[in-house]
């Protein structure tokens, strides 16, 4: 198309008129971005908040392995859909957003077993098999070494089969059934110092 001075002016005039028409409101206001739900086509996972001992239920929306949203589970009896400020920001535990808004794995998150030997001043990276085996071995050693079979209670000797050298901590992030099993396991080993973080 040959662009002469006149046709350019005509074109400019029509464009300006069209532009001013839109600002008067002949065009319906542009729908705000995000009218489609941000979490559509995501997979929902139920989980428990990892911060305090209340154990609120959370629904995580996951797309391509990245948590895009996390909010309170309305069907959970503990929080009934609500969350506190820490729980609301729990998606940042796994993914944080860089300057460009791209999700990147949180660099502060622990992904390995870290072991600090007694008397050492640094942590070493270990694998899970080693860690579980070591824990089991040490529990067994301590328990066998310190087990009291009999104790004097109210002036008479009774069978107690207990160890005072191990402390056992339950977890609010497990279900009641799981905590029941933990409790049974601790009792079976003779551990009597049993506690739980949800001591509210």
């Amino acid at each position: 198309m040959e662009l002469t001075r006149r046709s350019f002016l005509k074109l400019a005039g029509v464009t300006a008129a069209a532009a001013s028409l839109t600002s008067v409101g002949y065009r319906k206001a542009q729908a705000a971005p995000g009218e489609r739900l941000r979490i559509r086509y995501t997979q929902e996972f139920h989980t428990i908040c990892t911060f305090c001992g209340v154990g609120c239920g959370i629904i995580c929306n996951v797309r391509d392995g990245v948590i895009v949203n996390a909010e309170g589970d309305p069907d959970h009896p503990v929080n009934e859909g609500t969350l506190c400020s820490k729980g609301s920001s729990i998606s940042n535990v796994s993914y944080v957003f860089d300057e460009k808004g791209k999700p990147v794995p949180n660099p502060n998150r622990l992904t390995n077993v870290l072991y600090r030997a007694p008397g050492s001043d640094r942590y070493e990276v270990k694998d899970w098999d080693w860690a579980l085996e070591t824990i089991a071995k040490r529990i067994k050693d301590t328990r066998d070494r310190t087990l009291e079979e009999k104790a004097i209670v109210d002036g008479r000797e009774v069978t107690v089969n207990r160890t005072n050298s191990i402390g056992w901590l339950g977890s609010a992030f497990c279900t009641g059934e799981e905590n029941y099993l933990f409790h049974k396991m601790a009792r079976a080993m003779g551990v009597i110092n049993i506690d739980h973080c949800a001591r509210l």
């Binding site: 002016l9 001013s20 542009q30 009218e35 739900l37 859909g81 969350l83």
Partner: protein, 264 residues
């Protein structure tokens, strides 16, 4: 007339700021680096990445300490000053009665922020756009409640149908008065022709940092009264200019042709 409103019961607010975190989480707003200012109110200012915040106010009157807190942000006024002030028509009322900013039309002139009686419009210096609470419009149209009210653990934020929420607010005020708080009141029912955020306050609105009598600034009213017709005038003038140009050109063409014919 708002279809769905949010009740903010300041007497039930414990200041946990779950609404603030949930807002940032849902709207994917970045955190703001701040310094301790002596109050739990943090960040101290609204900005493009802080659309809502819990406002803390402390008073010590005759040895009686009053610690007031409430969630504040865009009120989604029916008589919205920002909408009147906006020169490009970027701010509009949605079908749900909320006030939204069209990000494509916004030119970043910041008039809305200056006109807002609640001072809640933030400005994004990077994208040069005004940003404020959207009442989670994307959630509303998909049948969900706003992120802030979904997160509130104490029932301070309740989302629902307008009539139901107003009766709830009235019942709460009566309850507070029965308990001996004669300063309890509803805020947002008549202010700026009704807002989508209805407050139950335990004391005067000034004590919560809210304006006692929010008004659309007179300058904004005059500006919109002049500017509204002026925009139509501009369109008419441009149309007239094009028409005049075309007809004049045709006349010129004719005159040229006639001149050529005469030459021939």
């Amino acid at each position: 007339m708002k279809a769905q409103v949010c009740l903010i019961d300041a007497s039930k607010c414990i200041g946990c700021r779950a609404c603030q975190a949930a807002c940032k989480q849902w709207n994917q707003l970045p955190a703001v680096k701040t310094e301790f200012t002596g109050s739990y109110e943090n960040p101290p200012q609204y900005s493009c990445s802080t659309w809502t915040k819990v406002v803390f106010r402390e008073y010590n009157e005759n040895g009686r300490i009053q610690w007031l807190m409430s969630k504040q942000g865009c009120m989604h006024c029916t008589d919205a000053a920002c909408k009147l002030a906006c020169p490009t028509g970027a701010i509009y009322h949605t079908d749900e009665g909320t006030v939204a900013i069209d990000r494509i039309k916004c030119i970043g002139c910041n008039y809305c922020a200056a006109a807002c009686p609640f001072q809640v419009v933030g400005f994004d210096r990077v994208t040069n756009r005004a940003e404020k609470c959207t009442f989670c419009h994307d959630r509303l149209v998909n049948g969900l409640q706003p992120a802030c009210s979904a997160a509130c653990p104490t029932g301070s934020l309740v989302f629902g149908e307008e009539r139901e929420i107003i009766s709830k607010a009235q019942a709460r005020v009566e309850r507070l008065k029965y308990k001996g708080n004669n300063n309890a009141r509803i805020y947002g029912l008549d202010e700026v022709d009704g807002t989508a955020m209805l407050y139950v306050l335990a004391d005067k609105p000034e004590k919560y940092g809210l304006p006692a009598d929010p008004q659309v600034p007179l300058g904004t009213r005059i500006w919109s009264a002049i500017y509204g017709p002026l925009r139509i005038l501009v369109v008419i003038a441009v149309g007239f200019g094009i028409w005049a140009n075309l007809t004049k050109n045709k006349e010129l063409d004719k005159a040229k042709e006639e001149a050529q014919e005469e030459k021939e």
